[in-house]
């Protein structure tokens, strides 16, 4: 059964509360062991592959050597025939036959090593795919496990701190309230800032005799005198 299915079944069965193991520790150990085994298999297969490939190369070299040798002896046989020495030519031909049968044997050896190397490469690929799958599953299990443990640490911490459990809407309201208070303070500070800058401007204007002037006794008297004169 795939692990996701196992987790699904456990969750469906109600094992959702913090502290309740969704995947038992044993499955994790088994998976970890499988990963270790798969890694071991890959390492071994790669080692085997190296030695098989070395043997394959050896056989190729031997084949080349035998081919060269066979060609060499064919030339000798030709020379012997040209010289009319049939007996020697026959003897050389026998040597060539020997070389050719050795060549056929080496070719067989080489193709058997090639086939073996192909099988090992396929095995490595397959095991690597399997390893990736085991690792993906382990990630799934470990994440589930981590979240469960983290959740239980959080709720333990919460109950230890004796804080009152607030509902989501209450929490949001409190946060908004704080935001409003902050905004109000900001606005108040801004207003205060504006007011004080207005006040200082007015003071400067007044000193310079600019803007609406407050009435003084002398200015009132001047006004009355002007009216009387009219």
């Amino acid at each position: 059964m795939s692990l996701l299915k196992k987790i699904f079944t456990a969750v469906r069965g109600g094992a959702r509360e913090a502290g309740e193991a969704i995947v038992d520790a044993n499955s994790i150990r088994i998976l970890e062991q499988e990963i270790k085994d798969a890694e071991g298999h890959i390492a071994k297969a790669k080692q085997d592959l190296t030695s098989v490939m070395a043997k394959e190369m050896q056989a190729s070299r031997e084949i080349e050597r035998l081919k060269t040798q066979s060609e060499e002896y064919e030339n000798y046989a030709m020379d012997a025939l040209n010289k009319g020495d049939d007996a020697l030519a026959t003897e050389i031909a026998e040597k060539i036959a020997g070389i050719e049968s050795e060549l056929a044997q080496q070719q067989e050896v080489k193709s058997s090593f090639s086939a073996h190397a192909d099988r090992l490469r396929e095995l490595v690929k397959k095991t690597e795919r399997q390893l990736a799958e085991y690792k993906r599953q382990l990630t799934m299990v470990k994440t589930t496990d981590s979240v469960q443990k983290a959740t239980s640490a959080i709720s333990d911490n919460f109950s230890n701190s004796n804080s009152k459990m607030m509902s989501a809407t209450e929490s949001l309201e409190r946060i908004k309230q704080k935001q409003r208070e902050f905004d109000d303070k900001l606005k108040a500070a801004e207003m205060l800032d504006n007011e004080s800058s207005d006040a200082s401007l007015e003071a400067k204007m007044k000193q310079a005799g600019i803007g609406p002037q407050t009435s003084s006794a002398s200015s009132v008297l001047d006004r009355i005198k002007a009216k009387k004169g009219a």
């Binding site: 990630t139 470990k142 994440t143 981590s146 959740t151 640490a153 509902s167 809407t169 704080k178």
Partner: protein, 137 residues
């Protein structure tokens, strides 16, 4: 990458990286260490950061099963499914009896990525509560 290192690095982030927010954090001890990160002004809904073998998980709890109006549960869950893709970087989930939003990051993430994730997750959590409050008691 471990929890303590992330906590240390969080302290050293400049305001730009923190996207203008101040972070407060504490490590919650346990079988699995958890870093609780509070964004100042949003202490009620912290972000919890935990490490697994392959990823950094950031989780914010939304509400408990008990807070959901019984008759609205199916619609709420459908909304969560519908909203999973449009909601940037975070997904809905349920852990035990608590609904949550979470984001997963690679273990090779930069501190900038982690800070961005924390702020985005917190924004998404607040938005989610706001838009789904009709489903809640």
């Amino acid at each position: 990458m471990d929890i303590k290192l992330i906590a240390e690095k969080l302290d050293k982030l400049d305001a730009d990286t923190r996207e203008g927010y101040d972070f407060d954090h504490q490590i919650i001890p346990g079988e699995e260490e958890v870093l609780q990160i509070s964004i100042c002004g949003r202490e009620e809904i912290p972000v919890y950061l935990t490490l697994t073998d392959t990823q950094i998980l950031c989780i914010s709890y939304l509400w408990d099963e008990r807070e959901v109006k019984a008759e609205a549960k199916t619609e709420m869950m459908e909304m969560m499914l519908d909203m999973n893709i449009p909601m940037p970087l975070s997904s809905f989930s349920r852990i035990g009896s608590k609904y949550a939003v979470f984001g997963a990051l690679s273990l090779n993430s930069s501190m900038e990525d982690i800070a961005h994730e924390i702020v985005t997750l917190s924004d998404n959590a607040l938005d989610a509560i706001e838009v789904m409050s009709d489903f809640l008691q």
